[in-house]
Amino acid sequence: MVDPRTTVIPDRLRSINRIIAVSSGKGGVGKSMVATTLALSLVHEGCKVGLFDLDFTSPSTHLILGAENAQPKEDKGIIPPEIKGLVYMSLIYYSRDQSAPLRGADVSNALIELLSVTQWGKLDYLIIDMPPGIGDVVLDLLRLVKRIEFLIVTTPSLLAFETVKKQAMLLRDLNVPVIGILENMKMNKSESIQSETEKLGLRHLGEIKFDPRVEDAIGDERELLGTLIGKKIQELVAAKVL
């Protein structure tokens, strides 16, 4: 018996120029916010962009984006709707307001299903909002999406960076491209994350000060791009770092 779904995944992703997973070893560091503002910033630059929320058990990009009432269409697969100028896909279309408690095998199966039936079309970028850690989704994406690059998000906390370091080491050992590490929610002056990042042989993409306005910007793309996260990401996009 053979699961036929994985065979078509390279075809489904063929017309996408770059696939960037926004990831972190730790939860609560601002991955979803970075992923969403990155996708919006690239749209702002005139790129055709997709955003794919793979944090199946705790999705949040639909709230950040303000993607209420949208639904994919069905045409020889699933065609995600365009929201705020980007092609947006999430399990939330199907789990809706219910909790979706999934174990590892279910996470893998849902991921393979969505990768095999989603028709993204031609994109310059596909930005993936990852769940925290180096579990099933990371391992499955490394197996199924050969061209994937990682953007790692951390906070200045050594607790967050400890897990980020392990993730970065795993990716380095597997020769997976890591664009760099972005330091989010900075509250004090310290260069420790920058120097630790450089010790790993990775690029420190900069720091973003803790911005209390972020909460109020949720759901409004113009406000989001005006936050410190939005400004930093736009700066990195304009400098062609991302």
Binding site: M1, V2, D3, P4, R5, T7, V8, D11, F56, E74, D75, K76, G77, I78, L91, Y93, Y94, S95, R96, Q98, S99, A100, P101, L102, R103, D106, V107, N109, A110, E113, L114, S116, V117, Q119
Partner: protein, 132 residues
């Protein structure tokens, strides 16, 4: 239709297997269709017939329905999936991504959403028969 994307996957995989097995002509492809995903058999068959490559021109596609069996991890209860107890929206959501069953189905004995889909989840390529 969602079934077209699944049919495309079946054809692509069957082609890969046929090449590996050095089959010049594929006579029969058997696909197991799990009831949890509620795939429309007629649409899947039509899509398969429309997508098949020249080496599959005389291929018969055989679909075998498999009942979906669920087993509760909390209390060990085993039961068979039935679409009848679901709302139309929930059934449609499970059709697209069977794993969201965990959002809509609970163990009928203890109420836990922590169950295993033992069999009958989605589509599987069961067998290919052809001539070398």
């Amino acid at each position: 239709m969602h079934e077209w994307a699944l049919a495309e996957a079946v054809i692509a995989t069957a082609q890969q297997i046929a090449e590996k097995e050095k089959l010049k002509e594929v006579k029969e492809v058997t696909v197991k269709v799990g009831e949890l995903q509620q795939v429309e058999k007629e649409i899947l068959l039509f899509a398969l017939s429309q997508l098949k490559p020249p080496s599959f021109k005389d291929t018969k596609f055989r679909l075998i329905k498999a009942k979906a069996t669920l087993k509760c991890r909390a209390c060990g209860n085993t039961w068979v999936f039935s679409k009848k107890k679901l709302s139309a929206d929930a059934a449609e959501a499970i059709h697209f991504v069977p794993e969201v069953a965990h959002a809509y189905i609970k163990c009928p004995k203890c109420g836990s959403p922590d169950f295993e889909i033992v069999k009958g989840r989605g589509i599987w390529l069961e067998n290919i028969r052809g001539l070398r």
